[in-house]
Assembly symmetry: C2
Homo-oligomer: 364 residues x 2
């Protein structure tokens, strides 16, 4: 058990945005929401998973929708409380603690904003160890945990409580409702017991995020190269250095989809990187070489500061370093690859672990 | 209190389809569903509204979606029970009786199918006295009764329980979910107390529907003109006689929308009628004359049998008589016209009661 205050929030927000692989929301907005709640209600208690009773009712707090929409519609905090209240009413039971569903600038911060308001602890765990665009893309789904009863709530006060035959149906119906409800909503779904969370979640993710954020902050303070330090911290690989020359981005079917093109700099001169995303960065390739593909993590970092750049933050002319990080082993199983691998997103490549692509020079 | 068996169901189905003004579903399917349930579980008790206790919880049973979809996806009856069960669980109270939300071949029959299965009475009342395409288009909305908590359920077993800030939001969110859930769903919404129903509903609608159906049936048996008799029964007007020469129909945004064109026959030779619909027939006009417009009722009848034809049943070459019927006075109020008048559907005409259009020869 530990207390998380403002400095920890700043660091976690940066680390979460990096593991969010371009998605999971704008870290500036997420940070502001969490900081404001902590300012008003005091520090939040963080529990390790082994401190959570096996029979405790635990529910992640998250948002769904296009990050491009979230930029213009900042949640007040009331939406999340409304979603939790509806779920508690339906289950007839109080929630013991919350936690992030995924890593991301907003989605890692929302549980802190909610927990501060409700005087509830946050658990150091999430359901991805990164970010993914669809509701069924969580380790809980791989382990057969139902997303429903699932509540979504908008800032106007509308809620929808879904009970579905599987989590892919939760995604379909909730996504359609989200678009009507203004493009982004707050979720209370994947309620489970402490025991399930311990078995199925990605543990100690907040500690890792805090460590990443701290590494980047201290590198700046000490005037050393942040990116090298980050790669050490996360066990990742540099994939490319370049300058954004084209960015094709649209909001469709409730997602921010697109392609960013980078022209190589330094060691990568005369090469071109194509980065494909759907809320998150999902595939990085040069003209004849696959560099990294989902479920492995692709993060775009500012070449100077090492700070992560979200898909909606990618700007023409930005100088970036693109890195790859091996995903959690749960995603490398057969069901994991079927759920979040390249084929699911329509990419005609086989999944190959990033460390193999890097070490073997990739597939020509 | 009276019992409704097979003959009454046959007559009500026909009368309801006529008042359904082309929408409310295919009377053949609705009838089969009700007859099958009555066959299996016995006749259904029908109550007049004044037989319902003021504090009884009453909930209409209905379907939403495009009638064109309903043709291919006949409900088993389990969807309606699932929707009611979810609503009862949420409210923590048993439903006392059900009733139709609108007149229509399917939507007037569904309450009988459900009531037979659940051993529950049906109340002789609905919320329109006709059919309309959207959820907020009920007299209950005019009287400030909330559509939510509202449950929609599909045949796969998915449900969504909505709580919205107003009934227009219920419509928006439920419609989007309906499209994802296969294009049609069963509803349990507009739960209310007996007292509210007595004040806000259109009473004795089932009796009127049964009378219409009986009139058409007996006209056939006695070999007399059914349409004249129907016009007497409903207090309506003949608008046009003609033959379908064009039908432009598409399913979009979850509705069956389109325009049917009729070439005049008999007294209407050399005239052309244009009939616009969105699930229901909403506007009838010749080249220079408005004949009838929503919320007044427009029904298309088979010229020979007098049987009503739904929007999806209109076929090239069919000989029809188009009739107009004054709507219930609740729809002619300011809020009524704002909710279901021509402007709401995008027609650039003022509402004029059908009896004025007929008596004054319409607007040139």
């Amino acid at each position: 058990m530990r207390k998380v205050g403002k400095q920890e929030i700043e660091d976690i927000a940066v680390g979460a945005a990096l593991l969010g692989t371009g998605g999971g929301g704008d870290p500036h907005i997420g940070k502001l929401m969490a900081l404001q709640a902590i300012e008003e209600f005091g520090p939040v208690t963080v529990l390790d998973t082994d401190e959570v009773p096996d029979d405790a009712l635990v529910v992640p707090s998250s948002m769904m929708g296009a990050p491009t929409v979230m930029l213009e519609k900042i949640p007040s905090g009331e939406e999340a409380i409304l979603a939790f209240n509806q779920l508690e009413k339906y289950l007839g039971e109080k929630v013991y603690a919350t936690f992030p569903i995924e890593a991301g600038g907003v989605n890692s911060m929302l549980p802190f904003a909610l927990a501060a308001r409700l005087g509830m602890p946050v658990i150091d765990v999430d359901g991805m160890g990164r970010a993914f665009p669809e509701l069924q893309m969580v380790t809980f789904y791989l382990d057969g945990i139902s997303a429903t009863p699932a509540v979504i709530a908008d800032e106007k006060g509308n809620t929808s409580l879904l009970s579905t035959i599987d989590n892919v149906w939760t995604e379909r119906i909730a996504r359609a409702a989200t678009i009507q409800m203004g493009g982004s909503v707050m979720n209370a779904m994947y309620s489970m017991r402490g025991k399930n969370l311990k078995e199925s979640g990605i543990t100690n993710i907040l500690q890792l995020e805090e460590q990443i954020g701290k590494t980047i902050r201290e590198a700046k303070e000490n005037n050393v190269n942040a990116i090298e330090k980050v790669l050490e911290t996360v066990g990742g690989f540099e994939l490319f250095q370049g300058k954004v020359t084209d960015i094709d981005r649209k909001t469709e079917s409730g997602f921010a989809r697109g392609i960013a093109t980078f022209e190589g700099t330094n060691d990568y001169k005369d090469e071109t990187l194509e980065l494909r995303f759907q809320n998150e960065h999902l595939l990085a390739q040069t003209k004849n070489k696959l560099l990294c593909v989902t479920p492995d993590l692709i993060a775009v970092l500012d070449a100077e500061t090492g700070l992560p750049i979200t898909t909606e933050g990618i700007r023409y002319g930005s100088r970036c370093v693109v890195i790859g990080i091996p995903c959690h082993p749960k995603w490398r199983t057969e069901k994991g690859i079927a759920t979040v691998g390249p084929a699911y997103f329509g990419y005609d490549v086989d999944y190959t672990p990033v460390e193999e692509l890097v070490n073997e020079g990739g597939r020509k």
